[in-house]
Protein backbone atom coordinates (compact mmCIF):
# COMPACT_ATOMS: atom_id res chain seq x y z
CA UNK A 1 0.00 0.00 0.00
CA UNK A 2 0.88 3.61 -0.16
CA UNK A 3 3.62 5.13 1.90
CA UNK A 4 2.28 8.61 2.21
CA UNK A 5 -1.40 9.29 1.79
CA UNK A 6 -1.88 6.73 4.50
CA UNK A 7 -4.06 3.72 3.82
CA UNK A 8 -6.94 5.66 2.36
CA UNK A 9 -8.42 4.41 -0.88
CA UNK A 10 -8.03 7.64 -2.79
CA UNK A 11 -4.49 8.05 -1.51
CA UNK A 12 -3.61 4.59 -2.72
CA UNK A 13 -5.07 5.24 -6.14
CA UNK A 14 -3.42 8.63 -6.51
CA UNK A 15 -0.12 7.20 -5.42
CA UNK A 16 -0.33 4.51 -8.05
CA UNK A 17 -1.12 7.03 -10.74
CA UNK A 18 1.72 9.41 -9.90
CA UNK A 19 4.88 9.33 -11.93
CA UNK A 20 8.35 9.56 -10.52
CA UNK A 21 9.04 13.08 -11.75
CA UNK A 22 12.37 14.84 -11.56
CA UNK A 23 12.30 18.59 -12.01
CA UNK A 24 12.97 22.03 -10.60
CA UNK A 25 10.84 23.53 -7.87
CA UNK A 26 10.74 27.33 -7.86
CA UNK A 27 12.05 29.53 -5.10
CA UNK A 28 9.71 30.01 -2.16
CA UNK A 29 7.65 26.92 -2.91
CA UNK A 30 6.36 25.08 0.16
CA UNK A 31 7.07 21.38 -0.24
CA UNK A 32 4.94 18.40 0.82
CA UNK A 33 6.77 18.15 4.13
CA UNK A 34 6.53 21.86 4.91
CA UNK A 35 10.05 22.74 3.74
CA UNK A 36 10.35 25.96 1.81
CA UNK A 37 12.50 25.88 -1.34
CA UNK A 38 15.50 28.12 -1.00
CA UNK A 39 17.01 30.71 -3.29
CA UNK A 40 17.31 29.79 -7.00
CA UNK A 41 14.91 26.88 -6.65
CA UNK A 42 15.93 23.24 -6.35
CA UNK A 43 16.14 20.17 -8.58
CA UNK A 44 14.43 17.26 -6.90
CA UNK A 45 11.99 14.37 -7.13
CA UNK A 46 8.39 15.56 -6.97
CA UNK A 47 6.15 14.40 -4.17
CA UNK A 48 2.39 14.56 -4.29
CA UNK A 49 1.21 17.32 -6.59
CA UNK A 50 4.57 19.05 -6.79
CA UNK A 51 5.10 17.80 -10.34
CA UNK A 52 2.54 20.25 -11.70
CA UNK A 53 4.56 23.13 -10.28
CA UNK A 54 7.69 21.92 -12.05
CA UNK A 55 6.33 22.95 -15.41
CA UNK A 56 7.48 21.54 -18.72
CA UNK A 57 11.15 21.05 -17.93
CA UNK A 58 10.72 18.04 -15.74
CA UNK A 59 11.07 14.42 -16.66
CA UNK A 60 9.18 11.32 -15.63
CA UNK A 61 12.05 9.05 -14.70
CA UNK A 62 9.95 5.91 -14.42
CA UNK A 63 8.35 6.38 -17.83
CA UNK A 64 11.69 7.05 -19.49
CA UNK A 65 13.40 4.20 -17.71
CA UNK A 66 10.80 1.58 -18.53
CA UNK A 67 10.11 2.72 -22.07
CA UNK A 68 13.77 2.95 -23.00
CA UNK A 69 14.47 -0.31 -21.19
CA UNK A 70 11.69 -2.07 -23.08
CA UNK A 71 12.83 -0.46 -26.33
CA UNK A 72 16.33 -1.76 -25.72
CA UNK A 73 14.89 -5.18 -24.95
CA UNK A 74 13.10 -5.03 -28.29
CA UNK A 75 16.11 -4.05 -30.37
CA UNK A 76 18.38 -6.44 -28.49
CA UNK A 77 16.07 -9.38 -29.08
CA UNK A 78 15.38 -8.55 -32.70
CA UNK A 79 18.99 -7.69 -33.45
CA UNK A 80 20.01 -11.04 -31.98
CA UNK A 81 17.59 -12.77 -34.32
CA UNK A 82 18.68 -10.60 -37.24
CA UNK A 83 22.36 -11.44 -36.80
CA UNK A 84 21.70 -15.14 -36.87
CA UNK A 85 19.00 -14.96 -39.54
CA UNK A 86 19.50 -17.60 -42.18
CA UNK A 87 17.50 -18.80 -45.12
CA UNK A 88 17.91 -22.34 -43.81
CA UNK A 89 15.84 -23.95 -41.11
CA UNK A 90 15.16 -21.15 -38.59
CA UNK A 91 15.60 -21.50 -34.85
CA UNK A 92 12.77 -20.82 -32.44
CA UNK A 93 13.80 -17.20 -31.78
CA UNK A 94 14.12 -16.54 -35.49
CA UNK A 95 10.75 -18.17 -36.08
CA UNK A 96 9.14 -15.99 -33.47
CA UNK A 97 10.74 -12.80 -34.71
CA UNK A 98 10.05 -13.65 -38.32
CA UNK A 99 6.39 -14.26 -37.66
CA UNK A 100 6.11 -10.77 -36.14
CA UNK A 101 8.13 -9.24 -38.97
CA UNK A 102 5.96 -10.93 -41.56
CA UNK A 103 2.79 -9.89 -39.79
CA UNK A 104 3.92 -6.26 -39.76
CA UNK A 105 5.19 -6.48 -43.33
CA UNK A 106 1.85 -7.78 -44.55
CA UNK A 107 0.05 -4.93 -42.83
CA UNK A 108 2.41 -2.38 -44.34
CA UNK A 109 2.10 -3.90 -47.80
CA UNK A 110 -1.68 -3.91 -47.64
CA UNK A 111 -2.08 -0.25 -46.78
CA UNK A 112 1.14 1.50 -47.76
CA UNK A 113 1.73 1.59 -51.47
CA UNK A 114 4.51 4.09 -51.93
CA UNK A 115 8.20 3.26 -51.74
CA UNK A 116 9.69 4.06 -48.36
CA UNK A 117 12.28 1.95 -46.57
CA UNK A 118 11.50 3.53 -43.23
CA UNK A 119 7.81 2.78 -42.82
CA UNK A 120 7.95 -0.99 -42.32
CA UNK A 121 10.69 -0.93 -39.64
CA UNK A 122 8.92 2.00 -38.04
CA UNK A 123 5.71 0.00 -37.91
CA UNK A 124 7.57 -2.94 -36.43
CA UNK A 125 9.10 -0.70 -33.78
CA UNK A 126 5.73 0.83 -32.97
CA UNK A 127 4.02 -2.51 -32.71
CA UNK A 128 6.56 -4.32 -30.56
CA UNK A 129 7.51 -1.36 -28.43
CA UNK A 130 3.94 -0.33 -27.68
CA UNK A 131 3.06 -3.94 -27.02
CA UNK A 132 5.91 -4.31 -24.54
CA UNK A 133 5.00 -1.05 -22.80
CA UNK A 134 1.38 -2.14 -22.58
CA UNK A 135 2.47 -5.54 -21.39
CA UNK A 136 3.82 -4.03 -18.20
CA UNK A 137 0.17 -3.57 -17.32
CA UNK A 138 -0.15 -7.29 -16.73
CA UNK A 139 2.43 -7.29 -13.96
CA UNK A 140 0.43 -7.12 -10.73
CA UNK A 141 0.09 -3.45 -9.82
CA UNK A 142 1.76 -3.61 -6.43
CA UNK A 143 4.79 -5.77 -7.06
CA UNK A 144 7.32 -3.44 -8.57
CA UNK A 145 6.12 -0.18 -6.93
CA UNK A 146 6.24 -1.89 -3.53
CA UNK A 147 9.71 -3.21 -4.18
CA UNK A 148 10.81 0.25 -5.27
CA UNK A 149 9.31 1.78 -2.17
CA UNK A 150 11.36 -0.55 -0.02
CA UNK A 151 14.39 0.77 -1.89
CA UNK A 152 13.39 4.36 -1.18
CA UNK A 153 11.76 5.29 -4.47
CA UNK A 154 8.56 7.14 -3.53
CA UNK A 155 6.64 6.70 -6.75
CA UNK A 156 6.92 4.26 -9.63
CA UNK A 157 4.54 3.84 -12.51
CA UNK A 158 5.77 0.87 -14.49
CA UNK A 159 3.46 1.12 -17.48
CA UNK A 160 4.90 3.82 -19.75
CA UNK A 161 1.82 3.88 -21.96
CA UNK A 162 -0.31 5.03 -19.02
CA UNK A 163 1.76 8.22 -19.08
CA UNK A 164 0.30 10.70 -21.52
CA UNK A 165 3.82 12.01 -22.17
CA UNK A 166 4.92 8.67 -23.56
CA UNK A 167 1.97 8.16 -25.84
CA UNK A 168 1.91 11.76 -27.01
CA UNK A 169 5.68 11.64 -27.50
CA UNK A 170 5.20 8.82 -29.94
CA UNK A 171 2.15 10.24 -31.64
CA UNK A 172 3.82 13.63 -32.08
CA UNK A 173 6.81 11.84 -33.59
CA UNK A 174 4.44 10.23 -36.03
CA UNK A 175 2.93 13.66 -36.64
CA UNK A 176 6.37 15.06 -37.39
CA UNK A 177 6.89 12.24 -39.87
CA UNK A 178 3.51 12.99 -41.45
CA UNK A 179 4.54 16.63 -41.97
CA UNK A 180 8.01 15.67 -43.14
CA UNK A 181 6.85 13.16 -45.72
CA UNK A 182 3.93 15.32 -46.85
CA UNK A 183 6.35 18.12 -47.71
CA UNK A 184 9.10 15.84 -48.99
CA UNK A 185 6.89 13.78 -51.28
CA UNK A 186 4.32 16.33 -52.39
CA UNK A 187 6.26 19.53 -52.02
CA UNK A 188 5.23 22.57 -50.01
CA UNK A 189 2.91 23.87 -52.71
CA UNK A 190 0.83 20.78 -53.05
CA UNK A 191 0.72 20.21 -49.31
CA UNK A 192 -0.50 23.75 -48.69
CA UNK A 193 -2.93 23.33 -51.55
CA UNK A 194 -4.26 20.20 -49.94
CA UNK A 195 -4.79 22.14 -46.72
CA UNK A 196 -6.48 25.14 -48.29
CA UNK A 197 -8.22 24.20 -51.54
CA UNK A 198 -10.44 21.38 -50.41
CA UNK A 199 -13.13 20.41 -49.81
CA UNK A 200 -14.85 23.64 -50.94
CA UNK A 201 -12.61 25.18 -53.59
CA UNK A 202 -10.55 28.36 -53.58
CA UNK A 203 -13.25 30.79 -52.48
CA UNK A 204 -13.53 29.20 -49.07
CA UNK A 205 -9.84 29.06 -48.17
CA UNK A 206 -10.18 30.03 -44.47
CA UNK A 207 -12.93 27.53 -43.93
CA UNK A 208 -11.02 24.82 -45.80
CA UNK A 209 -7.89 25.57 -43.84
CA UNK A 210 -9.79 25.35 -40.59
CA UNK A 211 -11.30 21.99 -41.52
CA UNK A 212 -8.04 20.56 -42.78
CA UNK A 213 -6.06 21.77 -39.80
CA UNK A 214 -8.54 20.18 -37.43
CA UNK A 215 -8.26 17.03 -39.49
CA UNK A 216 -4.47 17.21 -39.42
CA UNK A 217 -4.08 17.88 -35.70
CA UNK A 218 -6.75 15.36 -34.77
CA UNK A 219 -4.44 12.63 -36.03
CA UNK A 220 -1.67 12.83 -33.41
CA UNK A 221 -4.05 13.77 -30.63
CA UNK A 222 -6.40 10.86 -31.25
CA UNK A 223 -3.48 8.52 -31.85
CA UNK A 224 -1.79 9.38 -28.58
CA UNK A 225 -4.84 9.78 -26.41
CA UNK A 226 -6.46 6.57 -27.61
CA UNK A 227 -3.54 4.50 -26.42
CA UNK A 228 -3.17 6.52 -23.25
CA UNK A 229 -6.87 6.34 -22.44
CA UNK A 230 -7.11 2.62 -22.96
CA UNK A 231 -4.06 1.83 -20.92
CA UNK A 232 -4.88 4.32 -18.20
CA UNK A 233 -8.38 2.94 -17.81
CA UNK A 234 -7.11 -0.60 -17.77
CA UNK A 235 -4.50 0.25 -15.16
CA UNK A 236 -7.12 2.05 -13.12
CA UNK A 237 -9.30 -1.04 -13.06
CA UNK A 238 -6.34 -3.15 -11.95
CA UNK A 239 -5.73 -0.66 -9.14
CA UNK A 240 -9.37 -0.77 -8.12
CA UNK A 241 -9.30 -4.56 -8.13
CA UNK A 242 -6.19 -4.38 -5.97
CA UNK A 243 -8.22 -2.55 -3.36
CA UNK A 244 -10.37 -5.62 -2.80
CA UNK A 245 -9.50 -8.08 -0.04
CA UNK A 246 -6.60 -10.22 -1.21
CA UNK A 247 -8.64 -13.44 -1.26
CA UNK A 248 -11.17 -11.88 -3.61
CA UNK A 249 -8.83 -10.12 -6.01
CA UNK A 250 -8.18 -13.05 -8.31
CA UNK A 251 -11.89 -13.42 -9.08
CA UNK A 252 -11.76 -10.11 -10.94
CA UNK A 253 -8.11 -9.62 -11.74
CA UNK A 254 -7.70 -12.91 -13.57
CA UNK A 255 -10.54 -12.36 -16.05
CA UNK A 256 -9.56 -8.72 -16.44
CA UNK A 257 -5.93 -9.65 -17.07
CA UNK A 258 -6.96 -12.21 -19.64
CA UNK A 259 -9.17 -9.65 -21.32
CA UNK A 260 -6.35 -7.17 -21.08
CA UNK A 261 -4.07 -9.44 -23.08
CA UNK A 262 -6.43 -8.74 -25.96
CA UNK A 263 -6.52 -5.02 -25.26
CA UNK A 264 -2.77 -4.49 -25.07
CA UNK A 265 -2.24 -6.36 -28.33
CA UNK A 266 -5.12 -4.60 -29.99
CA UNK A 267 -3.95 -1.15 -28.91
CA UNK A 268 -0.42 -1.86 -30.15
CA UNK A 269 -1.90 -3.09 -33.41
CA UNK A 270 -4.14 -0.05 -33.78
CA UNK A 271 -1.26 2.31 -33.12
CA UNK A 272 0.80 0.54 -35.76
CA UNK A 273 -1.96 0.44 -38.37
CA UNK A 274 -2.86 4.09 -37.87
CA UNK A 275 0.80 5.05 -38.13
CA UNK A 276 1.00 3.21 -41.44
CA UNK A 277 -2.25 4.70 -42.70
CA UNK A 278 -1.32 8.26 -41.74
CA UNK A 279 2.07 7.94 -43.41
CA UNK A 280 0.43 6.39 -46.43
CA UNK A 281 -1.90 9.39 -46.66
CA UNK A 282 1.10 11.69 -46.34
CA UNK A 283 2.66 9.98 -49.38
CA UNK A 284 -0.37 10.06 -51.64
CA UNK A 285 -1.93 13.00 -53.35
CA UNK A 286 -5.63 13.45 -52.88
Amino acid sequence: MSAEGGLTTSGYIIHHLTNLTFGKLPEGFTRYNGEVVGEGGTWTIAHGTEASTMGFWAINLDTMMFSVGLGLLFIWLFRKAAIKATADVPGSLQNFVESIVEFVDENVKSSFHSRNQFVAPLALTVFVWVFLMNFMDLIPVDWIPYLAQQLGVPYLKIVPSTDVNATMGMSLSVFALILYYSIKVKGVGEFVGELTLQPLGKFMIPFNLFLELVNLFAKPVSLGLRLFGNMYAGEMIFILIALLPFWLQWVLSVPWAIFHILIITLQAFIFMVLTIVYLSMAHESH
Partner: protein, 156 residues
Protein backbone atom coordinates in the same frame (compact mmCIF):
# COMPACT_ATOMS: atom_id res chain seq x y z
CA UNK B 1 -0.87 13.98 -15.46
CA UNK B 2 1.56 16.72 -16.32
CA UNK B 3 2.90 17.30 -19.79
CA UNK B 4 6.63 17.67 -19.45
CA UNK B 5 9.95 17.00 -21.13
CA UNK B 6 9.28 13.26 -21.02
CA UNK B 7 7.45 13.85 -24.28
CA UNK B 8 10.73 14.91 -25.90
CA UNK B 9 12.68 12.06 -24.37
CA UNK B 10 10.09 9.64 -25.60
CA UNK B 11 10.22 11.09 -29.11
CA UNK B 12 14.00 10.82 -29.19
CA UNK B 13 13.86 7.22 -27.98
CA UNK B 14 11.17 6.49 -30.53
CA UNK B 15 13.22 7.80 -33.44
CA UNK B 16 16.33 6.03 -32.20
CA UNK B 17 14.60 2.66 -31.95
CA UNK B 18 12.90 3.08 -35.31
CA UNK B 19 16.19 4.09 -36.93
CA UNK B 20 18.04 1.19 -35.34
CA UNK B 21 15.32 -1.16 -36.46
CA UNK B 22 15.51 0.14 -40.02
CA UNK B 23 19.29 -0.05 -40.09
CA UNK B 24 20.12 -3.27 -38.31
CA UNK B 25 17.01 -5.35 -37.72
CA UNK B 26 14.69 -5.13 -40.67
CA UNK B 27 17.04 -5.73 -43.63
CA UNK B 28 18.67 -8.98 -42.47
CA UNK B 29 15.35 -10.46 -41.41
CA UNK B 30 13.48 -9.65 -44.59
CA UNK B 31 16.51 -10.72 -46.60
CA UNK B 32 16.48 -14.10 -44.88
CA UNK B 33 12.76 -14.42 -45.46
CA UNK B 34 13.09 -13.57 -49.14
CA UNK B 35 15.99 -15.95 -49.59
CA UNK B 36 14.10 -18.76 -47.93
CA UNK B 37 11.12 -18.05 -50.13
CA UNK B 38 13.33 -18.33 -53.17
CA UNK B 39 14.89 -21.52 -51.88
CA UNK B 40 11.54 -23.14 -51.23
CA UNK B 41 10.26 -22.09 -54.63
CA UNK B 42 13.34 -23.59 -56.24
CA UNK B 43 12.93 -26.78 -54.26
CA UNK B 44 9.31 -27.13 -55.29
CA UNK B 45 10.31 -26.45 -58.87
CA UNK B 46 12.98 -29.12 -58.78
CA UNK B 47 10.57 -31.60 -57.26
CA UNK B 48 8.05 -30.90 -59.97
CA UNK B 49 10.68 -31.25 -62.65
CA UNK B 50 11.84 -34.52 -61.15
CA UNK B 51 8.33 -35.92 -61.05
CA UNK B 52 7.83 -34.86 -64.64
CA UNK B 53 11.08 -36.54 -65.59
CA UNK B 54 10.01 -39.66 -63.77
CA UNK B 55 6.75 -39.74 -65.66
CA UNK B 56 8.58 -39.25 -68.91
CA UNK B 57 11.00 -42.03 -68.09
CA UNK B 58 8.12 -44.31 -67.16
CA UNK B 59 6.45 -43.57 -70.45
CA UNK B 60 9.67 -44.24 -72.30
CA UNK B 61 10.12 -47.50 -70.47
CA UNK B 62 6.61 -48.68 -71.30
CA UNK B 63 7.13 -47.69 -74.89
CA UNK B 64 10.42 -49.52 -75.06
CA UNK B 65 8.81 -52.55 -73.50
CA UNK B 66 5.97 -52.45 -75.98
CA UNK B 67 8.35 -52.05 -78.87
CA UNK B 68 10.43 -54.92 -77.58
CA UNK B 69 7.38 -57.10 -77.32
CA UNK B 70 6.32 -56.16 -80.82
CA UNK B 71 9.76 -56.85 -82.14
CA UNK B 72 9.91 -60.15 -80.36
CA UNK B 73 6.56 -61.25 -81.69
CA UNK B 74 7.65 -60.11 -85.14
CA UNK B 75 10.78 -62.15 -84.88
CA UNK B 76 8.84 -65.15 -83.67
CA UNK B 77 6.39 -64.80 -86.55
CA UNK B 78 9.20 -64.52 -89.00
CA UNK B 79 10.92 -67.50 -87.50
CA UNK B 80 7.71 -69.51 -87.68
CA UNK B 81 7.24 -68.52 -91.28
CA UNK B 82 10.81 -69.32 -92.07
CA UNK B 83 10.50 -72.68 -90.36
CA UNK B 84 7.46 -73.64 -92.30
CA UNK B 85 9.13 -72.42 -95.43
CA UNK B 86 12.15 -74.53 -94.70
CA UNK B 87 9.94 -77.49 -94.04
CA UNK B 88 8.08 -76.91 -97.27
CA UNK B 89 11.30 -76.55 -99.19
CA UNK B 90 12.65 -79.68 -97.61
CA UNK B 91 9.46 -81.50 -98.51
CA UNK B 92 9.68 -80.33 -102.07
CA UNK B 93 13.29 -81.25 -102.25
CA UNK B 94 12.57 -84.65 -100.83
CA UNK B 95 9.78 -85.19 -103.28
CA UNK B 96 11.96 -84.10 -106.17
CA UNK B 97 14.80 -86.27 -104.98
CA UNK B 98 12.44 -89.18 -104.61
CA UNK B 99 11.13 -88.58 -108.08
CA UNK B 100 14.60 -88.37 -109.46
CA UNK B 101 15.64 -91.54 -107.68
CA UNK B 102 12.52 -93.28 -108.90
CA UNK B 103 13.15 -92.21 -112.46
CA UNK B 104 16.73 -93.29 -112.28
CA UNK B 105 15.76 -96.62 -110.84
CA UNK B 106 13.11 -96.99 -113.46
CA UNK B 107 15.60 -96.20 -116.20
CA UNK B 108 18.03 -98.65 -114.75
CA UNK B 109 15.35 -101.25 -114.53
CA UNK B 110 14.35 -100.56 -118.12
CA UNK B 111 17.90 -100.80 -119.11
CA UNK B 112 18.26 -104.07 -117.25
CA UNK B 113 15.12 -105.34 -118.88
CA UNK B 114 16.34 -104.33 -122.29
CA UNK B 115 19.66 -105.91 -121.64
CA UNK B 116 17.99 -109.06 -120.45
CA UNK B 117 15.74 -108.96 -123.44
CA UNK B 118 18.72 -108.58 -125.70
CA UNK B 119 20.49 -111.40 -123.99
CA UNK B 120 17.40 -113.51 -124.15
CA UNK B 121 16.91 -112.68 -127.77
CA UNK B 122 20.36 -113.62 -128.73
CA UNK B 123 20.12 -116.75 -126.66
CA UNK B 124 16.80 -117.59 -128.21
CA UNK B 125 18.26 -117.03 -131.62
CA UNK B 126 21.14 -119.28 -130.86
CA UNK B 127 18.81 -121.84 -129.42
CA UNK B 128 16.61 -121.55 -132.44
CA UNK B 129 19.54 -121.99 -134.72
CA UNK B 130 20.90 -124.87 -132.81
CA UNK B 131 17.44 -126.31 -132.63
CA UNK B 132 17.07 -125.93 -136.34
CA UNK B 133 20.44 -127.46 -136.88
CA UNK B 134 19.43 -130.36 -134.84
CA UNK B 135 16.25 -130.67 -136.74
CA UNK B 136 17.94 -130.36 -140.10
CA UNK B 137 20.82 -132.48 -139.10
CA UNK B 138 23.30 -130.41 -140.65
CA UNK B 139 24.98 -127.27 -140.05
CA UNK B 140 23.20 -124.47 -141.33
CA UNK B 141 25.18 -122.11 -143.28
CA UNK B 142 25.54 -119.70 -140.54
CA UNK B 143 26.48 -116.99 -142.86
CA UNK B 144 23.45 -117.42 -144.98
CA UNK B 145 21.22 -117.94 -142.11
CA UNK B 146 22.61 -115.20 -139.91
CA UNK B 147 20.44 -112.68 -141.57
CA UNK B 148 17.45 -114.82 -140.96
CA UNK B 149 18.35 -115.45 -137.38
CA UNK B 150 18.81 -111.75 -136.73
CA UNK B 151 15.51 -111.04 -138.32
CA UNK B 152 13.94 -113.65 -136.16
CA UNK B 153 15.63 -112.33 -133.09
CA UNK B 154 14.39 -108.84 -133.81
CA UNK B 155 10.86 -110.09 -134.14
CA UNK B 156 10.91 -111.80 -130.81
Amino acid sequence: MNINATIIGQAIAFFFFAWFCMKYVWPPLTEALRERQKKIAEGLDAAERASRDLELAKEKATQALREGKEQASGIIDQANKRASQIIDEAKEQAIAEGDRLKTAAKAEIDQEINRAKEALRSQVAILAVSGAEKILGKSVDSKAQAELVDKLAAEL
